[in-house]
Assembly symmetry: none
Homo-oligomer: 179 residues x 4
């Protein structure tokens, strides 16, 4: 799957030949079929793994009850870490069509945004946050990281990214809003 991720990350689905995957993985072509029913199955398994991993890293660390900004930071940090640790998986994930594909994937995608949305709503309730559209803002968190990791500005580090993102969301960049 590492090999497959590497290839699918940088090439369209149809550009990746199972023969290349097999070679990259240093196994026979037939061996792939021992573990995956088809090329599609392999591709979906990849995305499923990616989402699973991301969910693990980003959401599992969140402990409800702690400060809302701490929770958001945990999620953001998790996603960034994941994106930097598994850039290939991350890129594969990003290209996945939102179509019906696989219910498991839909569910995980949903879980991820829901988790963030929940934190935001919790923040609204606790008064530490004022967000009239947490369902939009939650999309924002994921998209942001996605964009930065796909087209990384020069000299980007996990820390800078995390810091900047949280600051923007928290306080905005308007001058009159800070003092």
């Amino acid at each position: 799957m590492d090999a497959a991720a590497r290839l699918f990350a940088n090439h369209e689905f149809h550009e990746v030949r199972l023969e290349d995957v097999a070679e990259a993985a240093k196994v026979g072509k037939g061996t792939l079929y021992v573990y995956f029913a088809s090329k599609d199955a392999l591709y979906l398994a990849l995305i499923r793994e990616a989402f699973g991993e991301l969910l693990q890293v980003a959401v599992s660390g969140v402990s409800h009850g702690r400060d809302v900004w701490d929770q958001l930071r945990t999620v953001v940090r998790g996603v960034i870490r994941f994106g930097m640790a598994y850039p290939d998986l991350f890129r594969v994930m990003r290209r996945a069509l939102p179509g019906p594909e696989d219910p498991a994937i839909q569910e995980m995608r949903c879980k991820l945004t829901s988790a963030i949305e929940e934190i935001l709503k919790e923040g609204n309730r606790s008064g530490r946050i004022h967000d009239p559209h947490p369902e939009i803002t939650s999309q924002f968190f994921l998209s942001f990281i996605r964009g930065v990791l796909m087209y990384p500005p020069a000299g980007m580090t996990a820390e800078v990214l995390e810091e900047h993102m949280l600051r923007v969301v928290r306080s905005g960049i308007g001058k009159e809003a800070r003092r």
Copy 2:
């Protein structure tokens, strides 16, 4: 190209058969090859058109010198309008690999983020904005819209989206940051 956009928007490249495109466009299969050298060429032409259109809509309206937030609003509104007017082109665009593909596409992609980055920098200089990382924030604008349009929350409208986005970026959602 309309027909092609419609198909490529909802299906992976390899799932789209030129025969279907031809049928959808109500022309003969061979006719496609009168105008496009290959399936790839058609696909790239689509993306190129999309970026061109988007650039037109989003960047051309910006008049430097006006208030920074007005400029940002113009861009944001343009991108959102484009995404809603041409959802198919928008979806095709989004899936384009950042790879070498086509220099023209690379250039347009670059132009778009640069335009936003420039506005932000201008804002920094004028003091209306305080953004230590405009190169990151510019990515943010695009990613945000992209994410929202790909996985649209229920009841989303262009106005709400525009408003929410600008508010977040301007003032953040932190309670202590506003009064």
Copy 3:
């Protein structure tokens, strides 16, 4: 037809596109169909013309009753002249499959060898020639010229070719046979 000959001479049938023929002939693609029913028809017309021309040049000049070697010389000279005057037609002709193709072509091909065979037989009867297999020797004449014109040795001229060919057939190259 000149244009077609030029193209068919140096390229396999399938390598020649009617579009190229039209362009080379400086007419529209459709115009070809005003004069030829199909690509095959054009091709066959070409071969037919070639054989007709060759027959004209090579056989028509032969006047039975004259000296046999004069007659042979006339034929040989005619074929060589034709080959050098219309190298393209000549090359097209050579590649024609001996298959059923076109009865008219078969007939002309036959006429050509028959003409030579007849001269040889006449020579046998008159005693100026001793050839136990004129049906083979007649093939020889054509093949010879064909070979030389397809893969011409450097510095070949019509005269040298004609002279050499007749000498070989008449007297052979064995030393003991001449004095």
Copy 4:
């Protein structure tokens, strides 16, 4: 390749469908592509093999130093035998355009005529032959056989052909030249 030879022998390149070749060879269509990169490659491989075989059969048996006429007889016999043993390969070969095609083929074609030319020149030196144009006569040998095998007169046998050909070349058919 046997199957391919059979088909290419009696049909123009474009009339032969790879599907037919596969069927004739009793293998899958895809299997052809395991061994040949393209239809062209298959065709050229065929011609290459034909020339190789012919070279083997015709030239390898020649032992320099033996009587010149024996050497020529060996070559002639070799070519005739080859033509009769592999009529398909022979016919394919004949149609090959003298164009650039494949350097290996060019070389073999050259080798063949050179070999005969060398024998003739050796004959000139030894005095057993008087041939002012061995470079032309060598073409003759090949063309002759080619012609006879392509349009075989009825009742042709290898022996008759060999005998007749050598006799013509050696002594000619002029009556005054023999006694």
